[in-house]
Symmetry: C2
Subunit: 252 residues, 2 copies
DNA sequence: CGACTACATTGATTCACATCAAGGTCGGGA
DNA sequence: TCCCGACCTTGATGTGAATCAATGTAGTCG
């Protein structure tokens, strides 16, 4: 059990902030990822009205913790977060990484309490979407209801991909798949698909993929030796994308 | 690639059936599991009107296949199904078992195509719930919309449990957890929590848990030797529930 | 600046589960 | 009834990743 020193006194509570961040859904660079809706502009305004933007999360600060009352889902505007669960015997399982444009917190709906914790891997700006407002709006806007069902369904299929990865694939394949996944998530934001910085530690990668740090490190070394990847601490450059895909041995 | 000989010519298409099965949601023994809604009786009638009951699925018959157009979600009325994905290199990954009262097919929403296949492990009766009707009804009935969001969220949290199990737990713990999960699902239906028949093969269990048949078999033998379980092929009797829980080492 | 701490790499050894191999058991069909 | 094929169990051996151990590197704070 670590104590999160970096966390400020008010903890994970997001205070609606008076100063504007000059962002709204209409002009947000990420809206094609976050809400790829054929929304009418007045529909966007309705959504806009319920979304709360708040002061950024610092590195290691929690957005919410396992067991917290579920109030909202969250969209990442900048930075990266990890979601994780703590098992009964105190071990940690990273269940996902969330990049800009992605939505997290949906696992809290079923029990009205968050089933996992979410903390910032680096400074992160977040859009908070109060769930009851979202529900009401969904009833009025079929396309929004549909979109949200799809988002949750996507979370399910992605979890199933991870289940398959953990159950059927070797260490090499797992790490390669994660690199490809991160690469495509950068590409989706019009950033380089072949050169990027990993926001998470080797421990987090290993934890997510069901491997130890040492194994992750060895896989990176191996990939480097094979001229598939160039690894400089957290800086990654993909040198041989087809080679990486072959190593991953999965569609992902 | 197996050919499913048991499958009848019309494949997975469910034909609405003229003869009544004397079942409706109002009197269904499973409705506390399937739709634990404080539904007004006229609300139940509205739901009733969109649900289609059809002729039972025979063992090994598919309810839907990976890639099929997504039209409906399904509730199991009797029997058991398994859901599975086929990986690029032809391996199979079992992603879940579905018992009476449980809902499957929600992974198809995100892409309008089923992300996995579902086949009957034994003769099974199914309620089909056309999704577009469900969506429309959800807009009108906030409690139904909420319920469906919760169902999907539960699927997410359960998948995350499995991810943790695969990533962090030993063969013994995995098998013990599955036995406890099945036990509690029987208990929920007011059936014996300590004596039941496994509807799935050892291969399916191993596949679901990321283990080989041999390992599953050995774990059962070990549990039997420890007087935790009595195993007679597919008949299971839990002799020492606390012992089994201790072996599982997880809350699930 | 230098020292402390968290993070990352690399090597040696161990171990849990996979793989390979051989029988055993059950259930359905001729 | 007996036979066949699918399913299950058990044993012997192999191996990929965990564990243990040591060293290297980067970022941080007094």
């Amino acid at each position: 059990m670590t104590i999160h020193l970096a966390e400020s006194g008010d903890g994970a509570v997001l205070q609606p902030c008076s100063h504007d961040y000059q962002v709204n859904c209409g002009n947000c660079r990420l809206n094609s990822i976050c809400l790829p809706l054929a929304l009418e502009s007045d529909d966007i305004q309705l959504l806009e009205d319920i979304i709360q933007r708040s002061k950024p999360l610092q590195k290691n600060q929690h957005l919410y913790r396992e067991g917290d009352d579920f109030q909202s889902v969250y969209a990442v505007r900048s930075g990266t977060l990890k979601a994780y669960k703590t098992t009964d015997d105190g071990k940690e399982q990273v269940t996902g990484f969330y990049f800009p444009g992605e939505i997290l917190g949906m696992d809290g709906i079923s029990n009205n309490a968050h089933a996992s914790s979410a903390k910032a891997l680096e400074t992160a700006a977040i859009c908070e979407i109060p769930f009851t407002s979202l529900e009401k709006l969904s009833s009025l806007m079929p396309s929004l209801q549909r979109h949200f069902f799809q988002l949750m369904s996507r979370e399910i299929t992605e979890d199933q991909q991870l289940i398959t990865l953990l159950s059927k694939n070797s260490a090499d394949e797992r790490v390669a798949s994660l690199m490809l996944s991160i690469s495509s998530r950068y590409a989706r934001r019009k950033l380089s698909a072949t050169q990027f910085r990993l926001p998470m530690s080797r421990v987090d990668i290993g934890n997510y993929l069901g491997l130890t740090v040492e194994t992750v490190s060895r896989v990176f070394s191996r990939m480097q030796k094979m001229d598939i990847l160039q690894v400089d601490n957290k800086e990654i450059r993909i040198l041989d994308l087809p080679g990486l895909q072959k190593m991953a041995n999965v569609a992902g």
